[in-house]
């Protein structure tokens, strides 16, 4: 039972009043931004990064994680009640959730979603508890060669799975890698791309980039579209689903948990892709697929379970390998680095309190969220009355003032505004900021492990193929890089053969 000791100690960490409080703050903020269309969890976490400077690492990550999975719960509410997905991962919930609401079963839909989310999240935490230490111990032997290959594969996967044109995502990733080289070269001590600026001598901080690209960029982008105040919906009654409903949805919830857990682990996977996949799977499995889109409870329960399970399991690559699987995890990575903790295989061993504290906080967070989304759902619906016109300047000011407090420097604020412009233009021109931030975070790790392994191999790049794991990862890299080129051809043949189309082919946004 030695294995369980650190797990139990993790509960002690969570139950400290400060951590409980930050967990509550995190899930409430997550729920709120989930309900409000516009700002997503990545933007919110980016904006709130300065808040985490003065607290313990475990407390900071507990709060940020709460925002992330809390948003998955909140996004459901507006999908069901208003046909307005609050989050990308709740888009498919609209199809059946809103129909259920129209049939007077809004409460049932919300209840099923909340219970599904809870079960999916909890199942995923249990999976995480058992799987993460195994992966971490496996990765302990990783040397620089494996890390270079892993980082390359991670960046490539996130770039190719992300929304929009793949070339553009790869360009964004290249820009991120280039930005990471600004500052002093760790090997030779020479300055790179600093243009004589002292402010740039130590490189660009992660926080202003994230706050600018995700936070301010998104705020500016949203200014272009008017969000009028949504009509407050009719009263929600009876959120407790009946036994029959639960029975009907139980299969979907079980399948959603497993599917979400698996998709969350994959780099580039995540909550959105999991909810889409679950909807498609439920529709395919159903005896009467025509019920879907007309208020099928499985169409709500499945995706909502899957997105929560995926949100939780996407912590596995971050906490065990130190490779963020999506943009939100890249922000967590950055937040940990700020705290002087480098996520990686040693994390479980060296910081068991942090690792198990964060993991176990998710149980508490999920319970809090279940309470908030069942009895207190009416309160959150009222938030919809807050108009975007009021929210936008408030969030913009929080971003600017928050950026100042990081180092008490106006230079950081200026950087945030500059990256805000870049982020806005990127979105306008169809470039996702996610791969950029992810590549920036992994940039210095990638460069140093690449250079270190080349030293070991005496400068021979083929040396990477002399180690089985790095070889396998690099072969996977080549496959992922080449596959998009071949896939249209394969798809063409497939469509010609069957003439079927997949209506839920919506891509992940990171």
């Amino acid at each position: 039972m030695d294995f369980l000791n650190p797990v139990l100690n993790g509960f002690v960490v969570v139950l400290e009043p400060t951590n409980l409080l930050y967990c509550l703050i995190g899930v409430v903020i997550g729920m709120l931004i989930g309900v409000l269309p516009g700002l997503g969890p990545a933007a919110t976490i980016a904006i709130l990064l300065p808040l985490t400077y003065n607290v313990e690492p475990v407390t900071a990550i507990i709060m940020l994680a709460g925002i992330f999975y809390g948003a998955q719960y909140g996004g459901t509410i507006t999908s069901v009640l208003l046909r307005l997905p609050g989050e990308a991962s709740s888009v498919v919930t609209v199809f059946d959730g809103y129909q259920m609401a129209k049939q007077g079963k809004a409460g049932t839909a919300l209840g099923l979603a909340a219970i599904g989310s809870f079960i999916g999240g909890t199942a995923s935490i249990i999976g995480l508890t058992f799987l993460a230490p195994v992966v971490a111990s496996f990765a302990l032997d990783f040397g620089p060669a494996e890390y270079s290959a892993l980082a390359l594969l991670g960046i490539l996967l996130v770039a190719t799975i992300s929304n929009g044109a793949k070339t553009k995502a790869l360009i964004a990733a290249a820009v991120g890698l280039l930005l990471a080289t600004v500052g002093r070269d760790v090997f030779t001590g020479e300055s790179r791309f600093t243009f004589g600026s002292l402010n740039l001598a130590d490189g660009i901080d992660f926080v202003p980039i994230a706050m600018g690209l995700f936070g301010l960029g998104e705020i500016l982008y949203n200014l272009e579209e008017r969000h009028r105040a949504a009509k407050a919906p009719s009263k929600v009654t009876n959120v407790w689903p009946s036994k029959a409903d639960l029975k009907q949805a139980s299969g979907a919830i079980t399948r959603g948990s497993v599917l979400g857990f698996l998709l969350g682990i994959l780099p580039g996977g995540g909550a959105t892709i999991a909810s889409m996949a679950s909807y498609a799977m439920e529709k395919k499995r159903a005896k009467q697929p025509e019920r879907f889109g007309k208020g099928a409870p499985e169409g709500v329960a499945g995706p909502e379970t899957a997105n929560n399970a995926a949100a939780t399991s996407s912590f596995i690559p971050l906490l065990t390998l130190g490779i963020p699987a999506n943009a939100t995890m890249a922000l967590m990575f950055g937040a940990l680095l700020i705290q002087g903790v480098t996520p990686g295989p040693q994390l479980v061993e060296q910081h068991p309190d942090l690792f198990w504290g964060v993991v176990n906080s998710m149980y508490i967070g999920n319970i809090l969220l279940l309470i908030m989304s069942l009895p207190l759902v009416g309160l959150f619906v009222k938030i919809l009355r807050v108009r975007a016109a009021i929210l936008a300047p408030v969030t913009a000011l929080i971003t600017l003032l928050g950026a100042y407090t990081i180092n008490n420097s106006m230079f950081d604020v200026t950087l945030v505004v500059v990256f805000g412009i870049v982020g806005y233009l990127m979105k306008k021109f169809g470039f996702e900021p996610g791969p950029l931030v992810l590549a920036f975070v992994l940039g210095s790790l990638l460069e140093s492990s690449l250079r270190r392994s080349l030293l070991v191999f005496g400068g021979d790049p083929l040396g990477f193929f002399s180690r089985p794991i790095s070889a396998a990862l690099l072969i996977a890299f080549v496959l992922v890089a080449v596959l998009p080129g071949i896939r249209p051809l394969l798809a063409k043949r497939k469509t010609a053969a069957t003439g079927v189309d997949d209506t839920t082919k919506i891509k992940e946004t990171v």
């Binding site: 269309p37 516009g38 700002l39 990545a42 948003a71 208003l82 997905p85 989050e87 990308a88 888009v91 498919v92 199809f95 929009g164 044109a165 070339t167 553009k168 360009i171 290249a174 820009v175 890698l177 280039l178 080289t181 030779t188 020479e190 790179r192 301010l216 705020i219 982008y221 949203n222 200014l223 272009e224 579209e225 969000h227 009028r228 949504a230 009509k231 879907f292 889109g293 108009r387 016109a389 009021i390 300047p393 000011l397 600017l400 003032l401 100042y404 407090t405 008490n408 505004v417 306008k428 021109f429 169809g430 996610g434 469509t495 189309d501 997949d502 209506t503 919506i506 891509k507 946004t509």
Partner: protein, 198 residues
């Protein structure tokens, strides 16, 4: 006014419904009175229609050229830093590799991306983010001189009244409350060193 009219933003962390109806069976325009009974496919198509108009080849050329420009500039700068050999790299080698990849990707995008429609046109609505940017830049410029209070107040008023279309009464009232709240949090409670006038 149905809720759908207001739902043109599903952009939680990026846009979402880029190619929902992939098989090319996109349903035709849906008459307004049947909005309540859309199928999933129709709803997705509806969202697609409400997205801002796509920009054409010019936007692609412009963004590709910016990428090329940055890439070429970085190539030149990294060459100046010295490349060395893989076994004994100098500081320029790694940036050189990345910037070469960037140049290649930029060229690829310039040629192959001509017919992509994933960029958005700048419309009259784009004046709002530009105005927003100008106010933000102005705030950054004057904040060290006169503190954050007055610039924040002006920013709130401009964003709420002119960008958001609030009434004067609620604009003034809420702006004052917001600035007071920020003063309370950042100056009085947290004691940060944010430049402040009062």
């Amino acid at each position: 006014m149905t809720p759908l009219k207001e739902s043109n933003s599903v952009t939680a962390g990026g846009d979402t419904l880029s190619d929902v109806t992939s098989g090319g069976n996109a349903p035709g325009p849906v008459p307004d009175d049947s909005l309540e009974d859309l199928t999933a496919e129709q709803l997705a198509a509806q969202w697609e229609d409400e997205k801002p108009p796509a920009a054409g080849a010019l936007a692609n050329a412009a963004s590709s050229l910016v990428v090329l420009g940055v890439g070429v500039g970085a190539v030149v700068l990294s060459l100046a830093m010295g490349l060395g050999t893989p076994a004994a790299p100098e500081p320029g080698l790694w940036p050189f590799i990345i910037s070469c990849v960037m140049v290649l990707l930029g060229l690829f995008q310039l040629v192959m991306g001509r017919h992509n429609r994933d960029a958005e046109k700048f419309t009259r609505m784009s004046a709002a983010p530009v105005t927003g940017l100008v106010t933000l830049a102005a705030m950054v410029a004057v904040m060290p001189l006169i503190g954050f209070e007055l610039p924040s107040l002006v920013l709130c008023i401009i964003w709420m009244k002119f960008l958001g279309g609030e009434t004067w009464r609620s604009t003034l009232l809420i702006s004052a409350i917001v600035v007071a709240a920020f003063y309370g949090i950042f100056v009085a409670a947290l004691g940060t060193s944010i430049p402040h006038l009062f």
